[in-house]
Each structure stands twice: as structure tokens, then as C-alpha cells.
């Protein structure tokens, strides 16, 4: 069934709903593909073959009875292993959590996708406790980039980026505290959406930093992203940050494209003179959008620094009991950061929360004149695995905290941001561009993403994987 290679979620759902192929055939195809490709990528930490086959059989039986399972009928998906999956221990990329009991039920967002006909295929790799932008993990092995397996997949939703980029699933869920959906989407050449803070309930997912944690979808097309996002939406009182707002019907808005939207490129902090790969990507996107305007987001350096401190302190407080009793069981790369965060003065944290509010107010004013902002997603294409240093504005800095240099400010702001893929011809590797909108306007992000996709900014098949089953 080679016709399903790199096929979209929309195509699969249409095929299953119309009876062109069965959900069971879809599941068999993707299980075989995972079997063939996962050893090189290390994207899946657990494949749920039996569960997926049973679910496919249920869907096929429903179709035989004349029922329509939904807009995601038969669409295989997988989730970062911080989502609870009934009967599995929620690892969150750690060895420590392996001692925890299995989850009693699926995370809410898994249940929502399944209610629309999707089929869960398994759990995906991630950086330990989501404190990662690289995709490296000393406990379970590094997750590789499907474009070049010696390069980073990006993180912390590493398996989600790698699996979707490599065509192992058309749709995945990730989490994004400071860029953990957008960095792997950029490195793996796919679309990824960090919704507005508070849009999607995080119920049944392992936390990192309550003030900044978001969940969201990753896919190979803007349409699949919209399809997935619409299925995920809806208020739930089970997450205290989830806003009681009506869902936005992004599928209905998608084909409006960029019409009528005032688009500007982010300048100042986001200027790209020192980042040639990111600069080429943003230039190409802005040309395609006929966007010459530039806008500065005041307070970004301060806002980004605030997000850094908030994450460091809240994440470290969460893990303090484990840092006190078994620090040797952490991944060394995350342990050192968590220990540092556990020691920071409370005044730094309180000030950071205050500055976050200040920054959000300043940027809110910018949206009086602009609807959509374009910015780089990552400073560069995926670095080789093991790289430790990143040059930021002429200064050699630690790579791990700084791959989120362009994504972290929008986490502080809680704004929706969609990564659109581009290809850097010089390196032969993808690099993404962020499309950012005001709070609650994910539809605007997705409309611009769709507009760009129609002009060639699509998720390409990695050359090394396109001809392999």
C-alpha cells in the first residue's frame, strides 16, 4: 500500500470514510513503516500495535454499519511520552518516572482525537522532563533527525518532530513550554502549532512549568494541523489555566489565506544579521507574503529572560524531591539546570513574573497596527548531535538553552505561533519560520501558513527516507 507514503491525515480520513481503504490497512501500513524506520530515528519509545489494530477494527465495523467515525477517521497519530496513555507509565523522557505506576486513563487530548476517529499508534521520545531543545537523551538514546540522522531532531518534542518528519505518522502531539513544539518542527521540516496559552487543556500530561506549558499538534501540512487542532479544542475545567472560550473553527477559515491580514516581520531582538540560515528562511517567506513592513516588539530581551527564569524555578521546584533524593538518576544535561533553578532567589522569580506581564502589555499595543508577525523559529538548521556551543550575537553560549532564542519570547507572551517549513539549500536541511498572531487567533496563523504552503513552503520528504518502506 505504497500510496500512503507521506500521505496527509486529510487524505487518509477521506480514504477511510469513503471506503477506498480500511482503517486496518492504514494501521498495518504505518506499523510496517515504523518497524522499518524507527531503529534509525529512535522516535518511538513504545509502539501500541495491538491497541491500534483493535481500534482500527472498531472503526471498520462502524463504517460497515454505515456510521461515520469523524473527520480523523483512521488517522494514525502518536504522542510525546509525557501524555498519559492508559496502561503505560508516563516517562516524560526520564528514567526516574519508569518506577511510577501505569496511567489509569488516556490524556484528555488523546481522548479528543480518538473521539474524532483517530488511532493512537504509540508514545514518542522526548528530552528529559521536557527541559531540552536538542532531542538528546542519555537514558533512551538520542532521537535523530529524518533529514540527517547524525543531526539533532530538536526538542523537547523530539519524537513528535522526527516521526512526523520521517513519515512514521501524519499527526503527533507535543508540548511547548519555551519552543518544544516549534524547535523540532523547524529542524524536522514540518508544521507545528503552539496555541494560545490556556487554549488546550493539559489534563493527563506530565507538567514542566505551569506558567508556560502548552500542548499542541504537529503535522505535515497546514490543513492537517487545522484538522487536528479543531479536534483538540474545547474548554475543560480539569486544567485551571484552560480558558472558557468558544473554539475557533480554523478549518472553515483556512482557505481565506493571507487576505486582509496586516503582516510584518519582527525586527530588533529578532533581527537576523548574525543568523544567515534563519535570515534566508525569513527573507523567502516575507517575499512570498509580499511583506516589507517591520515591527519591533519592545521588551523582548527582558521578556525572554523572564521566561527563562520562570521555567528554571518552576521546573526545579516540581522536581525538588527527586533532586534531593536521587540526583544521580537525572540526565546530566538537565540535572545541572534543575539544580541551578532550585537554588535561585525568590526575588528573581517574582520579578520575572512581573516583567512577563509588563512585556505582554507592551506587545499588546503592537497588535493595534499589525495582525500577524513573522519571525525565525530557530537560529540555525539542526546542529550535529553532541554540539554544545551556539554563537548568539557574536558570543559563544550554551547551545541547549539558546536554541529557543526566537521561540521563548512568544511563550512568555502566550501567543499562538505556527511553524512553517522552508528548505535551506546550502545545508540541505530544513529550517522553520514562525507565524505569530494575537491571543486566540490561531486561525490567522493557520491561514498564513496555508497561504505559504500553496506557494511552495511545504513539508518535503527527506531524501534519505522517501524511497524506503
Amino acid at each position: 500500500m505504497t500510496a500512503l507514503d507521506f500521505s496527509s491525515a486529510g487524505t487518509i480520513a477521506e480514504g477511510v470514510n469513503s471506503g477506498r481503504f480500511s482503517a486496518a490497512e492504514v494501521v498495518d501500513f504505518f506499523l510496517a513503516r515504523i518497524d522499518a524506520q524507527n531503529p534509525a530515528l529512535n522516535a518511538f519509545t513504545r509502539v501500541l500495535a495491538e491497541r491500534a489494530k483493535a481500534r482500527a477494527a472498531q472503526l471498520d465495523a462502524a463504517l460497515t454499519r454505515g456510521e461515520k467515525p469523524g473527520p480523523l477517521a483512521g488517522v494514525p497519530f502518536a504522542v510525546k511520552n509525557l501524555f498519559d496513555i492508559r496502561g503505560l507509565t508516563t516517562l516524560a523522557g526520564s528514567a526516574i518516572n519508569a518506577d511510577n505506576p501505569p496511567a489509569g486513563e488516556d490524556a484528555l487530548l488523546i481522548r479528543r482525537l480518538e473521539a474524532k476517529g483517530a488511532i493512537l499508534l504509540g508514545a514518542l521520545a522526548m528530552g528529559e522532563y521536557a527541559y531540552d531543545f536538542t532531542g538528546e537523551n542519555c537514558h533512551y538514546g538520542n532521537c535523530a533527525n529524518p533529514w540527517n540522522i547524525t543531526h539533532m531532531s530538536g526538542g523537547s518534542s523530539s519524537g513528535s518532530g522526527s516521526a512526523v518528519g520521517g513519515g512514521l505518522v501524519p499527526l503527533a502531539l507535543g508540548s511547548d513550554t519555551n519552543g518544544s513544539i516549534r524547535v523540532p518542527a523547524s529542524f524536522c521540516g514540518i508544521f507545528g502549532l503552539k496555541p494560545t496559552y490556556g487554549r488546550l487543556p493539559r489534563t493527563g500530561s506530565y507538567p514542566f512549568c505551569d506558567s508556560l506549558d502548552h500542548l499542541g499538534p504537529m503535522a505535515r501540512s497546514s490543513r492537517d494541523l487545522a484538522l487536528g487542532f479543531d479536534a483538540l479544542q474545547g474548554y475543560s475545567g480539569s486544567d485551571h489555566t484552560c480558558a472558557d472560550r468558544p473554539p475557533v473553527d480554523t478549518m472553515a477559515e483556512l482557505e481565506k489565506g493571507a487576505n486582509g491580514l496586516r503582516i510584518a516581520r519582527a525586527g530588533g531582538y529578532f533581527s537576523l544579521e548574525d543568523f544567515p540560515q534563519a535570515q534566508r528562511a525569513v527573507d523567502k517567506v516575507c517575499r512570498a507574503l509580499d511583506c516589507a513592513a517591520e515591527v519591533e516588539l519592545p521588551g523582548t530581551l527582558e521578556g525572554r529572560s523572564a521566561a527563562y527564569l520562570i521555567t528554571n524555578v518552576e521546573g526545579s521546584r516540581l522536581h525538588l524531591p527527586r533532586l534531593q533524593t536521587r540526583p544521580q538518576d537525572f540526565d546530566p544535561d538537565t540535572r545541572d539546570r534543575f539544580i541551578a533553578g532550585a537554588l535561585l532567589p525568590a526575588a528573581w522569580y517574582a520579578r520575572a513574573q512581573q516583567v512577563r506581564h509588563w512585556y505582554a502589555e507592551k506587545v499588546r499595543e503592537v497588535f493595534a497596527d499589525v495582525d500577524v508577525i513573522i519571525a525565525a523559529a530557530t537560529p540555525c538548521v539542526a546542529p550535529p548531535m553532541g554540539e554544545k556551543i551556539l554563537n548568539i550575537r557574536g558570543e559563544a553560549q550554551m547551545l541547549r538553552p539558546n536554541l529557543g532564542y526566537f521561540t521563548q519570547p512568544f511563550s512568555a507572551l502566550g501567543l499562538p505561533s505556527c511553524v512553517v517549513p522552508t528548505l535551506d539549500e546550502d545545508s540541505g536541511l530544513p529550517i522553520g519560520v514562525q507565524v505569530i498572531a494575537p491571543p486566540w487567533r490561531e486561525d490567522w496563523c493557520l491561514r498564513v501558513a496555508r497561504h505559504l504552503e500553496q506557494r511552495g513552503f511545504a513539508a518535503l520528504s527527506p531524501p534519505s527516507m522517501a524511497d524506503k518502506q
Binding site: E302, Q324, Q328, I339, L343, A350, W358
Partner: protein, 67 residues
């Protein structure tokens, strides 16, 4: 404002590891100190933000819920 030169990550780590109750092995200290220095740099930037000096500190929103 946290002055770049006023924060000594090595001395701070020695002081605080006991307070936090985290057993930190000697071979981890260089890495932790790097992250402390980075956090101090971030704190300096945050501290220098030009907020209205008369602004009140914002607290997280607390909502009292009915039983």
C-alpha cells in the same frame, strides 16, 4: 540589578546547596555554576526592565472556589 561581577556562582552554590538539601557531587559543580551564572545574567536583564517604579507587584491570580 544583578551586576555581572557581583554574583559569584561558586560561592553561591556552596552556600545554597545545604539550604536546598540537594547532594551535589563535585564533578557536577562546574555545570551547575554555568547555569547559575546564566540565570544571574537573565536576572540582571529582568531587573533592568524599565517598569514604572511605582507599579505594584503582580501576584498570580488566585480564585476562591465554592465548596
Amino acid at each position: 540589578m544583578v551586576e555581572k561581577n557581583s554574583f559569584d556562582p561558586q560561592a553561591y552554590l556552596e552556600l545554597m546547596q545545604t539550604v536546598a538539601g540537594i547532594p551535589i557531587r563535585d564533578e557536577w559543580k562546574t555545570g551547575v555554576e554555568q547555569h547559575l551564572a546564566n540565570a544571574a545574567k537573565m536576572a540582571g536583564i529582568v531587573d533592568a526592565a524599565e517598569l514604572d517604579p511605582h507599579t505594584i507587584d503582580l501576584a498570580g491570580v488566585f480564585e476562591a472556589k465554592s465548596p
